[in-house]
């Protein structure tokens, strides 16, 4: 099977007044039509990896890679216009907090229709019908009503469903979800993950799920990449998370409190400088 995404030696760095900050330092992986989890703590470069693939790295950031290939398209050589055509149409991204990622002065329906009509030549009525279908597909009970609401009028869970609807309406082949459920309540989190799981499986998309929550990622994805300080320290099948070898992964698993186990004090992570190399 041909890989959907092929990343080789990806590097993202930001020149600053006090020197170059290397956010991502040589990340390589391939993605098929599967669910890949990227896990790491703040500053590990997980979000910058996703943004580099999406083409949303900040203007002054420098991207270098041996290979950054999306389904035959060389993303490194693609022009801005080509990247724009890909973005939203073939690669889509769901961000963490719907409060900030939705346009506050546009109704939810109009935003979804805008996405669709940017990428496909469809008429107004047709676009509206498809937007309503999509809202129904993300388990919104009353799509007609939600279509006309502004983002501040809906709950976090509803907003994130609308966001997913907007991202999936153009039928992307790759979905990058950057902490899609971190801003939501636990019970809502599961609903949103269920919807995401269902739609990704049904449409045969590739999914990159970026999160700080190792357990959540491993329960949701097929394969997990663990990042530390801009590098991949370990890659393993999600089902075999308990067999993790790297001390960082093990430490991360260990330091979380668990219901029903009494560990006082909790083991803390002893960061070794050699993990960075």
């Amino acid at each position: 099977m041909r890989a959907l995404l092929d990343v080789e030696d990806l590097r993202v760095s930001f020149p600053t007044r006090t020197g170059v900050i290397e956010a991502v330092r040589g990340v390589s992986f391939t993605l098929g039509r599967e669910r890949l989890g990227i896990v790491g703590e703040s500053g590990s470069g997980k979000s910058q990896t996703g943004r580099a693939i999406m083409g949303l790295t900040a203007e002054h950031g420098v991207i270098a890679a041996g290979k950054l290939d999306f389904n035959g398209t060389d993303l490194l050589k693609a022009s801005k216009a080509e990247r724009r055509a890909l973005r939203g149409k073939r690669i889509a991204m769901v961000l963490q907090d719907p409060k900030y990622s939705l346009n506050p002065v546009m109704t939810i329906g109009r935003q979804i229709v805008e996405t669709l009509r940017t990428h496909e030549p469809v008429g107004r009525a047709e676009a509206k019908r498809r937007a309503l279908d999509m809202l129904a597909a993300v388990q919104i009970r009353d799509p007609e009503r939600v279509f006309g609401l502004y983002p501040h009028e809906v709950s976090g869970g509803m907003g994130q469903r609308a966001m997913i609807a907007m991202m999936l309406i153009a039928g992307p082949e790759l979905l990058i979800a950057d902490e899609p459920t971190s801003a939501l309540d636990v019970t809502v989190q599961l609903d949103v993950l269920g919807i995401l799981n269902h739609l990704v499986a049904e449409r045969g998309m590739g999914l990159i799920f970026i999160s700080h929550d190792l357990r959540l990622v491993s329960s949701f994805c097929d394969r997990v990449i663990v990042m530390y300080a801009g590098r991949i320290v370990e890659e393993l099948p999600a089902a075999r998370l308990s067999d993790a070898q790297h001390p960082y992964t093990r430490g991360l698993l260990n330091c979380m409190p668990e219901i029903g186990t009494e560990r006082h004090p909790l083991p803390v992570l002893d960061r070794k400088p050699e993990w960075k190399t």
Binding site: D185, L252, P257, G260, P265, L269
Partner: protein
């Protein structure tokens, strides 16, 4: 024994919106009590009402047997201190750590401010090298330590913790949780902690109350929750949700 914190029929309303209705609970001295619920369940409002930053509509709050009236005196504020969720928002961006810690001392007229600030920083594991830094020069975990130091510098008897670790990385969360436990043991503090994370609450608290829509659902011991001895469906749902995502769940369609 007089409870450290006793709440009777507490209600909080903002105009027509009832945020909290008829909540009663009692926390013994040195105990650690957890409040669990989803957003909008009123758990933070309850903490804020105890801290005195949200006006109480009905009911009574008593700290160490003393009922807190509509107008509280300074001493009663000192006894109850709060640590907020977001360490990026709860520290003044243009004040040094030293200034941040001096402010509560000055308000409450403490002596030996110098010694107290040095001691407070030591106690939370920061050391005096952090004393003249600004909050933007600190990491999230370090900021939360400063927020804890600021709360403890007034020697309160009750510490109110509003999601103290939910903005932190897992490894930093473990460090802060350990610090809180150690401080509670050393100072015989009473904790009331709000969290949406059942694992964190059962780790730190002996008993907890589950809340929904501003009302208490159930009050139970952490051990019972861990053993699955719950009586309410809502609690059961929360417990199931905290176990993570399961593929077969998606069979809803």
């Amino acid at each position: 024994m007089t409870p450290a914190l006793a709440i009777e029929g507490l209600g909080v309303a903002f105009d027509d919106f009832v945020a909290l209705e008829d909540v009663s609970l009692s926390v013994a001295p040195g105990e650690s009590f957890g409040l669990v619920g989803e957003s909008g369940s009123g758990k933070s409002t309850l903490l804020r009402a105890v801290a005195g930053v949200t006006p109480v509509s009905t009911g009574a709050i008593a700290v160490d047997g003393m009922i807190l009236g509509k107008r509280r005196d300074k001493a009663s504020y000192r006894k109850v201190q709060m640590v907020f969720q977001d360490p990026y928002g709860s520290l003044h961006p243009r004040q040094t750590v030293d200034r941040l810690l001096l402010e509560p001392l000055a308000i409450h007229g403490f002596d030996d401010t110098e010694g107290r600030i040095v001691h407070a920083l030591d106690e939370v594991g920061l050391g005096s090298s952090f004393r003249f830094r600004y909050s933007h020069q600190l990491s999230g975990g370090q900021r939360q330590r400063v927020a804890i130091a600021r709360a403890l510098i007034l020697e309160p008897s009750i510490l109110l913790l509003d999601e103290p670790t939910s903005a932190l990385d897992a490894s930093v969360q473990a460090e802060v949780l350990n610090l809180l436990e150690q401080l509670r043991a050393a100072r015989q503090l009473t904790f009331v902690m709000v969290s949406h994370d059942l694992a964190v609450v059962t780790h730190l608290c002996d008993r907890l109350m589950v809340m929904q829509n501003g009302r208490p659902v159930e009050e139970l011991a952490s051990a019972d929750l861990a053993a699955g001895k719950v009586t309410q469906d809502y609690t059961r749902g929360l417990l199931a949700a905290s176990k993570g995502f399961r593929r077969e769940r998606s069979g809803w369609s």
